[in-house]
């Protein structure tokens, strides 16, 4: 429902023509703002967080940032493109499993098999579809390309047939459910409900070592910043404007001679690639990938983070995803018995009083300040 009649994007993130500084703000400030913001984010992630947080908290932050990567993708597909992607868990899972399969095989050594296969599958040799993942040159590109290929296949079918709104959301959910059932059913080769656990090494680095955990964090933080830069380029390009146009009035764009299906497809595939990359990095950060992480509930949680943050802005989804994940940890540590109610309450409050998400707080505060100035 929200997908078909989206709220107008907040002024802070409004798409502007690529070569003109946005809005009526003084030119000097707006020129430097994105770069300054980017530098500020980098300083926060690369200097402040590692110094201020313990190893344990930094590892948690690494996990949140992975969720934030998925959110950047959803921000493009849903916030800009109006596609309510309720099945991003599938792409997250494809990336995660591709990476975990490679790491499990690397742990097992050449010719070895992951421990669970002997326990649950009683297999004598590696299944054929596992074999390519032994090579990092296959597995690493696969973490991104596999989700993108699946998204391309699904998207080409769905968008051409003009499936949208609630129907598209339901379809995404069904895909997530189907993938979970498939993984659980093939326990011998996928680890079933347990998933792939106990991942020891990351390309030769021992993941038990806090120094290497820190390295994984830095990689994740770097990738997130890169994805944000990419998202900004997409949003501010001609294509980004077209995407918003498709979201707001698909029929009009069609009559202008564009093919809305291709426009949507690109955003959907990009979002899937980001989710796949997030899944791949989640594995060394957390050491586990399981069906519980990619089913319907986690897929919805990805979207909730974006909604809380503000889906139509660039930073909103990231802030929302991190805030929701952080609140989940903080609340459940403080109130192990009742935190779920508090979390629910938080969602209700944000959606009811801040429909633009956390990102709209800034705009709201600025409007208030301007109004105050006028009154003086």
């Amino acid at each position: 429902m929200t997908a078909v009649t989206p709220a107008p994007p907040s002024t802070a993130g409004a798409p502007a023509p690529a070569d003109v500084a946005p809005g009526s703000r003084p030119g000097g400030r707006s020129r430097l703002r994105p770069a300054a913001g980017f530098a500020f984010g980098a300083a926060l992630l690369f200097a402040v967080a590692p110094l201020a947080l313990s190893d344990f908290r930094l590892a948690l932050l690494a996990k949140y940032l992975c969720v934030a990567m998925v959110a950047v993708g959803i921000g493009i597909a849903w916030g800009r493109g109006g596609m309510l992607t309720l099945g991003q868990g599938v792409f997250f899972g494809l990336g995660g499993y591709a990476m975990a399969m490679h790491l499990k095989l690397a742990d097992a050594g050449p010719g070895g098999m992951p421990d669970f296969m002997q326990l649950y599958g009683q297999l004598d040799e590696l299944p054929v579809w596992w074999r390519p993942f032994a090579s990092p040159w296959f597995a690493l590109p696969a973490t991104v390309l596999l989700p993108m290929a699946v998204a391309f296949g699904l998207g080409s079918l769905v968008f051409r047939r003009r499936v949208r709104g609630a129907y598209f959301a339901i379809l995404s959910q069904a895909l997530a459910a189907a993938m979970v059932i498939l993984l659980i059913g093939q326990q011998g080769t996928t680890g079933g409900t347990n998933g792939l656990t106990d991942i020891q090494g990351f390309f030769g680095y021992d993941l038990d070592d806090p120094v290497n955990q820190r390295m994984v964090y830095f990689i994740i933080a770097g990738v997130l910043l890169a994805l944000l830069a990419l998202a900004r380029q997409i949003v501010h390009s001609r294509y980004g404007e077209l995407l918003v146009a498709v979201r707001d009035s698909e029929e009009r764009v069609r009559f202008l001679g564009y093919d809305p299906a291709s426009v949507k497809l690109v955003a959907y595939v990009v979002a899937a690639g980001m989710a796949g990359l997030a899944g791949a990095l989640f594995v060394p950060a957390v050491g586990i990938i399981s069906p519980a992480l990619i089913g319907i509930v986690p897929s919805i949680e990805f979207v909730i983070g974006v909604a809380v943050g503000g889906r139509a802005t660039l930073l909103g989804p990231v802030l929302g995803a991190v805030a929701v994940a952080w609140a989940r940890t903080a609340l459940s540590e403080r109130f192990p018995g009742t935190w779920t109610y508090l979390q629910g309450l938080l969602f209700v409050v944000v959606v009811a009083f801040l429909p633009g998400g956390l990102a709209s707080l800034w705009a709201l505060a600025r409007r208030r300040a301007e109004r105050a100035e006028v009154h003086q």
Binding site: L32, F56, Y205, A226, I288, G337
Partner: protein
């Protein structure tokens, strides 16, 4: 022009980021003591222990009862003077029925709270998720639930039954009753699938036939098809490894299809007193269960446990096998610590072999090698009052054998 400038800064920042990432790169060798384990904080006059159970999500209904009985044991021990003169301070965390959350909370309990031991986990998936965390930090987990075996972590004590203390005796019982054919019904996850693998190996070696095998997704309530298949299969008994809510739907369907405990008994391994209450006695009366403990198990130790539990949590609250195993695990930890004379994990592990405890289920003994405990197997029948009464027991505690190495028919399993 403006965007070009922005892009330059952007590119600069990216290079900076890459440089930091590269210089921050880790060491390939971990011999500088990177993974050296966190020592528990026992400096004060209390010792912290972690309680890691799902207080929310689908598993909460079962795991909260385990949490309650761990708390009971902690209070009893504190009232009697604590462990090595220190009062136990329990720190609860919610695993939220979500396996990565279990891993996160385990890490938090170990490295932030610096607990001496953690009690909890229920599903195999949650145990598999936390196992690397405990092994990495060299910290202790006491796992209180019967499980599918095939595991032996040096940092986990398994106080529930492994397969040779629950499933194999259940099959022995069916065999002694002259049952020649069984139908396997289970939830779709690791425990039922592994258990059924073991059952099929047992059946093949003992002249039984497995006439059918069906899995329902966890939480599924659609059992019409499965029950029809069971009915037309002509099996003499059903071996049920369904978990949670699915049992309610399954047994309702079973009864309405005209199947009875007398004609085709169902042996369940995940239905204890608490579940009988929620499924409804009318659907379960006469059906069989395989466990190591029932509320009705005779003995002074159990009388005391049941009375204390009901006094604390209410007269209508039943006690069950996982609750008892959790209660016992706290006492076993206390005995190990006292024998070791220290809270140090390696010393506690070293002291574990041969520790005995007069548990509500009868005498239990810790096997230091497998870190499982010797337990008496008990087959029970659900009565009209919702309680389960024993119809057979193994006579003496069965030594744990998580990999079924002493059973010739199981040689191909591990």
């Amino acid at each position: 022009m403006s965007l070009l400038w922005g892009r330059r800064i952007l590119a600069g920042a990216m290079i900076l980021v890459a440089a930091v990432a590269v210089t921050a790169c880790g060491s390939k060798t971990s011999d500088e003591g990177g993974a050296a384990g966190v020592t528990a904080d026992v400096s004060g006059d209390t010792v912290k222990v972690g309680l890691l159970n799902s207080l929310s999500g689908t598993m909460a209904i079962s795991e909260v009862t385990v949490r309650d009985s761990i708390m009971l044991a902690v209070e009893e021990i504190n009232a009697a003077g604590g462990v090595l003169g220190k009062k136990i301070q329990p720190i609860g965390e919610d695993g939220a029925s979500d396996w990565p959350t279990f891993a996160e909370k385990a890490e938090k309990l170990i490295s932030e709270d610096r607990v001496a031991a953690v009690f909890g986990c229920w599903t195999s998936a949650s145990r598999k998720a936390v196992k690397p965390v405990f092994e990495k930090n060299k910290a202790l987990l006491f796992y209180p639930v019967q499980y599918e075996g095939l595991e032996q972590s040096p940092y986990i004590f398994y106080t529930g039954a492994t397969t040779n203390q629950q499933i194999v005796p259940g099959l022995d019982y069916l065999k002694a009753q002259g049952t020649k054919s069984v139908y396997l019904v289970g939830s779709d996850y690791v425990f039922p699938r592994t258990a059924n693998k073991i059952i099929k190996a047992y059946a093949a070696a003992n002249g039984m036939t497995v006439v059918g095998e069906d899995y329902a997704p966890l939480g599924s309530t659609e059992f019409g098809t499965i029950v029809n298949k069971v009915r037309s299969s002509g099996a003499k008994a059903v071996f049920n490894t369904l978990n949670g809510d699915s049992n309610v739907a399954f047994f309702k369907e079973y009864k309405s299809a005209g199947l009875t405990a007398a004609a085709m008994p169902v042996v369940s391994v995940s239905i204890a007193e608490e579940e009988v209450k929620s499924i409804g006695t009318q659907y379960l009366e006469g059906q069989l269960t395989a466990w190591n403990y029932y509320q009705t198990t005779p003995g002074a130790a159990n009388g005391k446990f049941v009375a204390a539990y009901k006094a604390k949590y209410g007269a209508d609250k039943p006690t069950s096998d996982p609750m008892e195993a959790a209660y016992v695990s706290v006492y076993l930890w206390k005995a190990m610590v006292e024998k070791a004379g220290a809270f140090d994990v390696e010393k506690v592990r070293g002291a574990s072999d041969g520790i005995t405890f007069e548990a509500p289920e009868g005498l239990v003994t810790v096997d230091g090698k497998t870190q499982h405990i010797a337990k008496t197997a008990r087959i029970g029948k659900v009565g009209a009052d919702g309680l389960i009464t024993e119809v057979w027991n193994s006579g003496k505690p069965i030594a744990p054998d998580p990999y079924l190495k002493t059973y010739p028919w199981a040689s191909g399993l591990s």
